[in-house]
Symmetry: C2
DNA sequence: CTGTTAGCGCATTCAT
DNA sequence: ATGAATGCGCTAACAG
């Protein structure tokens, strides 16, 4: 009786040590190499494959990643590099979508995604060491700001890399992007089509390619229409920035009758400033955003905005990377995905 | 000449193969084990440490993670498990903050964070195999819905785990959480203090502990004040849900003069519905949210809301996990972090 | 304090 | 088609 108290049947779980390939092989009555082949699709008799498969299930075998990596000289892991200060990452739906999409794609392909947050101001020593052969097989870089040290670091990593968003020209990195310029142009044309003639542009930081491209699209539309473009105010892609820039705009350019904001967050901030100043949207000032994230339908009035296919973008980047890892070749790039103007209430 | 064309000096980059510990040791004139100790802080003479350090820099040595993991029987990686459908993850600032905070904390501690997105509806076979000894040393679980299969899966993983947010009662997992109940209570009390007597609650799904706790706090405040609580409508923590629930509320409970929304997104959706219906916020209906994410200051009127310290929460979870990995012991838990009511315009 | 000796778990030659 | 042998790069006893 005492014994059963000291060690009831349910008290001692089976030792948590995992089964090894060796044990599977023995249990299946084959050699380790045969077991290895059977599991990884090498040559093996049907009988062997079956026996190994059953032993695998019986023992709950799951291959050890480190061991496999050591032997195969690859990690089956890829880094998702985001050179951005954490405080921004928090509030950026773009990065959230990219992160989860890339993650899902990697898992599906048997790769492990690793998020590498990389504060540009930090001593990036840890990450520098990490981004080297032996830790990951490749990297996907997004939210890249023009920044020489970081660019050099990525280059010396001598790892296959693909960028989400146009990389610094001449860097030669494969990349995918959305049609920022065309999208901005269509947004601006929409405004012009509604008879607006004093359109301002609220821009993200010009150290990012997206901000530059969208500004150029804004200018393109004006040039084609023969209309003088309004001012282009540079800030960040945030609501706070939108608030501040819009206030400045009202003060310095009171004739403005429309705003092209380079992000939904910028637009939301701008609308807030306008509303607070007693201006009606879209009557007094029309506003169009860029992104079509959830903010677009959370603000009032709902945002007319340029929808960008972020999920597809991230998927394309992942596919490019995965393809390269599997074939050693790069697929077609750059892939430029189309945007679409979504007309709601704000313009 | 032909030879030089076939292999110009600049065409063949130095073999990208990394230096190994062996080479470092040889270059430093010591044995491999001494080099190993010197690098990982074991016993070694100052001279040896110095020689190894220099050789390391000279050769650009970076230790191979897989090899180290194999030898030490630990991976120095932890999983951040998010059992949530991707479509939701996209738009949840809570998860974004948790993700980046946990990531940063892990990197700092020399651990590699791995985001494990886990669609509850998927055949989770891949992940099931992943969450086992040999792939990660532990896991941090967040955004947990009551879901038996997933709970069982996490348990059978027999991995150290810590939850962000109260886990299913009786599960025994260490966890950290915010004071949801007290926070909801203070929000409701604020509304009562402004003379509101018909307060409704817009709730997230009750399969999440946070929704239940916040509802209880809503009731607590009413009970203490001797006021009959208004209806509690269940939905999700999203803006879309807020829109729908608020419409229903207006139709079914027209006497309502205030809303406690269990998230900022819910509040934003509700405000939109109210505005569309011609109700003034906060005059006709006061609204208070929960979270204090960026939405709170992006909507108009700005949200009075219960701020929750998500960064600290995530940090606490990471610390708990890291501490366990280092000492084998669990630190104090549960840690319940305080919330704070932030009064703005909406109530 | 240091070098020698064994593995860690798996993939992959090479024979058979 | 299969098994035996070898090695991936590192850590951890173990003697010295």
């Amino acid at each position: 009786m005492i014994l059963s108290v000291a060690s009831p049947a349910s008290a001692v779980p089976p030792p948590p040590r995992r089964a090894t390939l060796d044990e599977v092989a023995r249990s299946a009555g084959v050699s380790r190499s045969t077991a290895s082949r059977a599991l990884s699709g090498g040559v093996a008799s049907a009988a062997a494959v079956d026996a190994v498969r059953r032993a695998t299930e019986r023992l709950g075998f799951v291959p050890n990643r480190a061991a496999r990596g050591l032997a195969r000289q690859r990690t089956d892991a890829i880094a998702l590099v985001i050179p951005e200060t954490p405080s921004f990452i928090f509030y950026d739906p773009f990065l959230a979508i990219v992160t989860s999409t890339v993650s899902a794609a990697c898992w599906k392909a048997g790769l492990q995604p690793m998020m590498v947050l990389m504060d540009p101001d930090d001593p990036v020593h840890t990450i520098e060491r990490f981004l080297h052969l032996g830790n990951v097989d490749g990297m996907i870089v997004t939210s890249f700001h023009h920044n020489r040290p970081v660019e050099d670091l990525l280059k010396t990593a001598s790892l296959p890399a693909v960028f989400i968003g146009r990389p610094p020209s001449g860097s030669g990195f494969p990349y995918v992007d959305v049609a920022n310029r065309a999208g901005a142009r269509s947004a601006t044309e929409h405004l012009l089509g509604r008879g607006r003639r004093h359109i301002a542009c609220l821009s993200g930081s010009f150290d990012m390619a997206a901000a530059v491209d969208r500004r150029d699209g804004f200018w393109d539309a004006h040039r084609s229409a023969g209309v003088e473009p309004g001012p282009c105010l540079e800030g960040a892609f945030t609501a706070r920035s939108g608030l501040i820039l819009a206030r400045r705009l009202l003060a310095e350019h009171p004739e403005t009758d429309a705003i092209f904001a380079q992000s939904d967050a910028l637009a939301a901030g701008a609308i807030q400033a306008l509303t607070a100043a007693g201006r009606l949207v879209p009557d007094d000032l029309a506003v169009v955003g860029f992104d079509d994230f959830s903010t677009a339908t959370e603000v009032f009035p709902n945002l007319t905005t340029v929808a960008q296919p972020v999920t597809e973008l991230a998927q394309a980047a992942a596919d490019l990377m995965i393809g390269h890892l599997e074939t050693g070749q790069w697929g077609d790039w750059p892939q430029i995905l189309p945007t679409e103007l979504v007309v709601r209430q704000s313009a």
